[in-house]
Symmetry: C2
Amino acid sequence: RTLRIGLIPGDGIGREVIPAGRRILEALPSSLNLNFSFVNLDAGFETFQKTGTALPDKTVETLKKECDGALFGAVSSPSTKVAGYSSPIVALRKKLDLYANVRPVKTTAGSSNGKPIDLVIVRENTEDLYVKEERTVEGPNGKVAEAIKRISERASHRISTIAGEIALRRQGIRAAAPGTSAHTQPMVTITHKSNVLSQTDGLFRETARKALAAEKFSSIHVEEQIVDSMVYKLFRQPEYYDVIVAPNLYGDILSDGAAALVGSLGLVPSANVGDGFAIGEPCHGSAPDIEGKGIANPIATLRSVALMLEFLGEPNAAAKIYTAVDANLDEAKFLSPDMGGKATTQEVLEDVLKRL
Amino acid sequence: RTLRIGLIPGDGIGREVIPAGRRILEALPSSLNLNFSFVNLDAGFETFQKTGTALPDKTVETLKKECDGALFGAVSSPSTKVAGYSSPIVALRKKLDLYANVRPVKTTAGSSNGKPIDLVIVRENTEDLYVKEERTVEGPNGKVAEAIKRISERASHRISTIAGEIALRRQGIRAAAPGTSAHTQPMVTITHKSNVLSQTDGLFRETARKALAAEKFSSIHVEEQIVDSMVYKLFRQPEYYDVIVAPNLYGDILSDGAAALVGSLGLVPSANVGDGFAIGEPCHGSAPDIEGKGIANPIATLRSVALMLEFLGEPNAAAKIYTAVDANLDEAKFLSPDMGGKATTQEVLEDVLKRL
Ligand SMILES: CC(C)[C@H](C(=O)O)[C@@H](O)C(=O)O
Ligand SMILES: CC(C)[C@H](C(=O)O)[C@@H](O)C(=O)O
């Protein structure tokens, strides 16, 4: 099987980590019978400055027509408002209907400060405040701006269903690594703020409850947690959680919170998943402070490559990458500076490749 | 001076901690020349079940006409949607125009796991998604619900101004306790998500920048942080922060996150502050799991009493309470179960009172 992968480095350290993602795909053992071809695609703030658009039509069209999956690096946020600029990754998620943002957060012996964590945040990826429908009016007391938060039954149902499926699939993973989780049963925690937003978050909560009550999910233990408490609990008892399903914005916030628990955002991958397409994306941003130094942690990208492969139906290839990455972290000899090490992006990559 | 204080225990452990708040006011040394009178007021889920409203008009009217300040305990969130029920504290904040929710989070020797933390979250308290303007329509693919997130220049300006004032005032506090903060200059961190919400959060950010550029704030160092990164940084580097100003919902989430860092929500106070009125409110909720056991931590309430007194212009009385509470925590002899101790609400209270 040959998979065609779009490479969208974007801005900042996106350009340093996406090449590492390509390298690991090329280095996968031939016994897997997987081949890859690549196409480089533009997006980001620099693209916006050059062409007036942050997400050229050509990028979207090429992904739709030619590609099986893609890797996305990061984009800069301009430090003051720039008319007409808007985040290309948010647009891409919507244009390709990549409705689930899957963010596994896990410790290995090398990355843990004590508590083993092995959870997945499943973030709705197309609506909530990310519909970006805003308006501003000039009132008697100055400007008043409004944004729409939209929650639909359809999107809430499909995100909860994929969360349930991931929980069922993980049961296997957990059994293979005893002691890494506090549960004996797969669990999904529904996060919302329906005590304030009874209609929108109320709809999310109800729909998630219904979706997870399906016969096929009968082995799953379902809990819920109000978003503010969820952040509190996540910090106090992260080892308790398995799969957390959340509307878009809460998922965004929770995944950064969870990343802090495992030591560095530089470890945390994500996949933007739709029906038959997946974009791997490291959770860290463009990191202007370390841009160009060659010291960005490639682990988040390598894990994002694996996650993309999982959702493209290649779990064995994914497993190879996860195992190699975990071995690198456990040995802790080649760690990048965000992990307290001294290795460059290149050195971390080489160490992982050699373990494939 | 006699202050008349409304007591609104609400539900759950609210009824166990608000009496402790009353006791400490009654126990303040007579040298302060402060007297208190009290009026008990109803609100909460049980009130709703009895009377059909969670916030009776009488409660609001009595607070407006008779009281100088109030203490609010907690309210239960019903575990499934209950028609007509809506949170009385959210309504109260709006009806009394208590536009700032001030939440100091600090470690003492007894409550720290290493890093000293001494920060204040200043949360806008009247708008954002808390305007609760929602609607649901039945579409071709099921229900679609929408909520309005409203951000005004006026509310953003006044919350940023009070954040600046608190930062200036804290400079004194910090100087008196060297080593508890990493800064040499007061700092305000503006939190937003203007990379996605350019108009609403963009307006918050710009207005906060303008408000904090006022001459009287020239000694303040102003930074900003996108809300997801803010959660990450708060976990990784909490000792770095001084005053954090945020729109309503982010402030809600950040304050629970910060509470997790100091060991227990049971330690964290808040004050809902308007012009000339303040309601002290512990940040923990109604805690149904420990309700009725007499083991709720009264510290959050005692500190909320002090915070209320600060905003009612009684800093000396407030200082007495803070000092007594810190001494209780530092000695760590009478700690409630959430802190790893065995003391009851009553025992913790008595230990604090004896140090007044
Ligand atoms: C860059 C930003 C628009 C994006 C988001 O909010 O989704 C990022 O924070 C993420 O988590 O992928
Ligand atoms: C109970 C709830 C409505 C409230 C809020 O969201 O403001 C609580 O979480 C708080 O922080 O005071």
